[in-house]
Symmetry: C2
Subunit: 310 residues, 2 copies
Amino acid sequence: MSILVVGSVAFDSVETPHGKVDHVLGGAATYFALAASNFTSVRVIGVVGEDFTPANEKVLTDRGVDTAGIEHAPGLSFHWTGSYVQNLNEAKTLGTDLNVFAAFQPKIPAAYQDSEYLFLANIDPVLQAQVRSEMPKVKMVCGDTMNYWIADHKANLLKVLKELDVLLINDGEAKMLSGETNLLRAANKVMEMGPKILVVKHGEYGATAFFCDRSFIGASSVSLPFRAPALPLDEVVDPTGAGDSFAGGFYGYLASQPELTPAVFRSAMFYGGVMGSFAVEKFGTERLQTITREEIDARFQLFRELSHLA
Amino acid sequence: MSILVVGSVAFDSVETPHGKVDHVLGGAATYFALAASNFTSVRVIGVVGEDFTPANEKVLTDRGVDTAGIEHAPGLSFHWTGSYVQNLNEAKTLGTDLNVFAAFQPKIPAAYQDSEYLFLANIDPVLQAQVRSEMPKVKMVCGDTMNYWIADHKANLLKVLKELDVLLINDGEAKMLSGETNLLRAANKVMEMGPKILVVKHGEYGATAFFCDRSFIGASSVSLPFRAPALPLDEVVDPTGAGDSFAGGFYGYLASQPELTPAVFRSAMFYGGVMGSFAVEKFGTERLQTITREEIDARFQLFRELSHLA
């Protein structure tokens, strides 16, 4: 079933201990769509400038991503400059040139109205809320956010959280949003804000799903969380987009399944980790451009072997 | 089969957000022995002062721990004062009164010579090496250490590492010991120093075992690590001893099994997490004093449900 994703399509200039790239294709919606496209059909709502070339678009369309919802505006595309030289686990932002993204007004093509899964990538919660309200019939809504919106646009963010089935954020964001330092208490507070399920990403330590309403995934009322591992990697070439690739693998797999069950949800958490582990192997979206479903499923088995008793 | 543990038997004065306790029974060997005693017989080598009462000793003997190797010396027992008020994940040491522990010279009773499993808790590596050399016939040697020995006694520590089958440390210690910031590279470097297996504890994120020589656990040469989860807890009353309790659960289970296989090793990693999760539920060793094997196995199943696809 189709996923509609709204978010940034951008260019990134990134330096890591492994080297440096300049103006490579990036953005949350791009990583999400490339990762999710291995599982199901994906449609993108975003905006790009005149520097976005047919070759850039081809990266998405070659993987079956529907780019009809990407608006082309006069000016330059969103450009992010960051460094992981000091710390591979956290980007140091050196520059954020919003360019055409500053005036982004998501427009949903009529052909996208039948999308059953909606993903609200990390953008202004006002825009997230607007897109959500224009897609009232979706089967599931999943969203992301970041510290900037939590700190300075909390009222708007809280409106979006009420509308979410699943919120995907990292440890620091969960603690910041809840004001709690204990992860489980933080998760419970965040779920009181709306999301039925909270997925907290722990970077190299994997991810944990917390359930407020497990009936949503067809389970009993027992509220035990679920932890998925991350693969220990000896080389992280470029961490950019790991979280968005996790989201794409997670949500793409969910959307590909006829029914949402606890087992499907657990596999989705594993596929999230799998796609995140691939994304960081090369700079930018390079690894996601060539990946095969066979490679993905082989790594899924690796994740199982990594974490299962037998 | 019997485990011989050498390490500190001490008193702790601890403050956490949940309260404060003064001079309660603690020490690495104590936590280790209490945790391991649920699985196999445990013998302790340590030293205590005149403040160590029969009631203190009874805490150990009531759980079947053999305390004949605990030497009683004139003076006071080792006393540690720490606070977790600012950060539940890392103790702030407020005082370390070594007392009788300063002149500790481990003496191994003749009756302990047939111990098949040796655990070298976190003490001066010179003493660890001495005990190890006096127990040449053990089936397995597992050890712990800490940043102090890594920073200031590295040459002595390196001699001990050569003798270890399994080293159990935390993330920060693995990175400090190796000089690597990447966990997998750190693990590989540490294993070049001697240990066949390195278990890295990640606190609330669980633990990872890295294998240099998997034939040691009866496996093929594939060197995929193994990750065990930790249970998300909404209340950590007192983190003191969590790592030593992990070690006790891990090693106690290993020693209780007739053969070391990959499946046994994996279960041992889970039992480590299980015992760590119990230890932090109450102050000091309180929770470990009353725990039953039924409670332990029920939580083991919880850890499985927490982390397994089906």
